[in-house]
Amino acid sequence: MKIKETIKLYVKYASVCTQSVMQYKLSFLLMIIGRFIMAFSELIAIQFLFSGFSQIKDYTYGDVLLCFSIIQMSFTFAELFGNGFKAFSGTVKKGEFDRMMLRPCSLLLQVMGTRFEIGRTGPLLTALITLALGIRHSQITWSILTVWTLAAMIIGGTFLFIGLFMLGASFCFFSIEDTSLINVLTYGAKTHGKYPIDIYGKGILRFCTYVIPYTLIQYYPLQFLLGKTRSWYLAFCPLGMIVFLLVCYFIWQFGVKHYQSCGS
């Protein structure tokens, strides 16, 4: 019952946010186009780069496109749903968070619901085009397990980025200074995650496994998806994101407990 109510409320929040954006249709359209162009230009950049060679460390053009589209899609979904965490420092500074705490309703729902931004979906189009291109160019043997892997990578990636946004938001409880360092982990992963992580070398691969588990949604399942390994269990790596998200959630909860108001 409670879950049903929560979902209903979230949909309500989202529709109100969407309606308010729709008041400025041209602006909305340009926003979508702008974000689409930004993402699309990166796709063209990859194509230009690949005109000079056909393979980068055993990965073909199609493989890189797959990587690019998965990361773009995860990031876009995460931004769509987790935008509230991204803009959280503003919420704290304005004292809006104090108001949220007074309401008899889940904090998570309010933070996520109030900043639902439909205009963020621009890169989704690029991601879909890239996904289609990537699937056409790379040789994936389709089976239930590979379809699962692809879907799990995208959903797992969404969880990962939402988790990171949440982590960034949690820092706002302890420091009112701008915590832009988290941007390296989010935007940086979006920009540089378009190549399979192992092209950056062993050190980066280790960091992306043991510090922030990017490889669980990119490198390891990708090996299975592209048929580079027979280890089927790699297909289930993205499930680890549930643990990561839970860890981020506990840090967030810890932060909420120690929150001291700074707004007026």
Binding site: I33, R35, S41, A45, I56, D178, V184, G201, I204
Partner: protein
């Protein structure tokens, strides 16, 4: 003497207020640059010596891009000016007995140079201390360094006149953020911020060289690393001056049009 010391102390303390912000900015840029260097290393190995730029030029290009980010990024345009246009504070600006175009131009250019100066020193310092293949190289010779400085200013001028055109276009719409995103997204790519321009296929590059975008950061960064040679350099400088004049003119014409139709609502 004491009072000057106090002034210094005051300014220094104010500056130190933002130390955390500058440390995070520095870290971000270093990581960003290093990741790009690593990616291009893999690309260099993949293409086996047939790259349109040699690897050390690319590394230098990347570090210059990171160090001088504040000069050339069009997406970080002056937010205050945008909000002035939308919230009506432009009225105060209109009251001042100075030309808005010149005022905003100097303000934008000043802010960019100040920020770049503050940011470039630590980034460059670290870039020169990087381990070998990722280390930034000094300029090829004195002449190219002087030409680098000259073209850097011209390129900055072109970038700022472009921003001015974006500001002016905002007078013709009530939703500046959308315009801004479309224009800056395109320029980011066309000016060589995502991949250096030599990586573009020849036929597109030819078209691009007819536009002002090829004369922004592309020219100074490639002169510095010795990727552009003498004949091309003077050609580029000539084109830079041409675009600087044309875009300034265009901006002023747009401003004259905008000035006629500014309507202030409410007060």
């Amino acid at each position: 003497m004491k009072k000057y010391y106090r002034f210094f102390q005051l300014r220094f303390a104010t500056g130190m207020q933002y130390r955390m912000a500058s440390v995070t900015a520095l870290t971000t840029q270093l990581i960003w640059g290093l990741m790009e260097c690593l990616a291009y290393k893999a690309i260099a190995e993949a293409s086996g010596g047939t790259m349109p730029m040699n690897y050390s030029s690319i590394v230098t290009y990347i570090w210059l891009k990171e160090a001088l980010l504040a000069l050339f990024n069009t997406w970080a345009a002056d937010n205050e000016l945008f909000s002035m246009i939308t919230n009506g504070d432009i009225a105060y600006e209109l009251c001042r007995p100075v030309s808005i175009y010149s005022m905003w131009f100097s303000r934008t250019i000043g802010a960019r140079i100040a920020e770049a100066l503050m940011r470039c020193i630590p980034v460059l310092l670290c870039a020169f201390l990087m381990p070998k293949p990722y280390r930034m190289t000094p300029p090829v010779n004195h002449v190219s360094f002087l030409l680098f400085l000259l073209t850097l200013f011209l390129a900055l001028g072109i970038t700022v006149t472009f921003c001015m055109i974006v500001y002016m276009l905002c007078f013709f719409t009530i939703s500046p953020q959308g315009w801004r995103m479309v224009l800056t997204g395109a320029v980011d790519f066309l000016s060589g911020n995502i991949i250096p321009l030599p990586f573009f296929p020849k036929k597109y590059l030819f078209l691009l060289e007819l536009s002002p975008f090829a004369y922004m950061q592309n020219v100074p960064f490639r002169i510095y690393s010795g990727d552009l040679v003498s004949g091309e350099i003077y050609h580029c400088i000539f084109k830079q001056i041409f675009w600087l004049v044309t875009m300034t003119f265009l901006g002023i014409v747009l401003w004259k049009q905008a000035e006629k139709r500014v309507i202030l609502q409410g007060g």
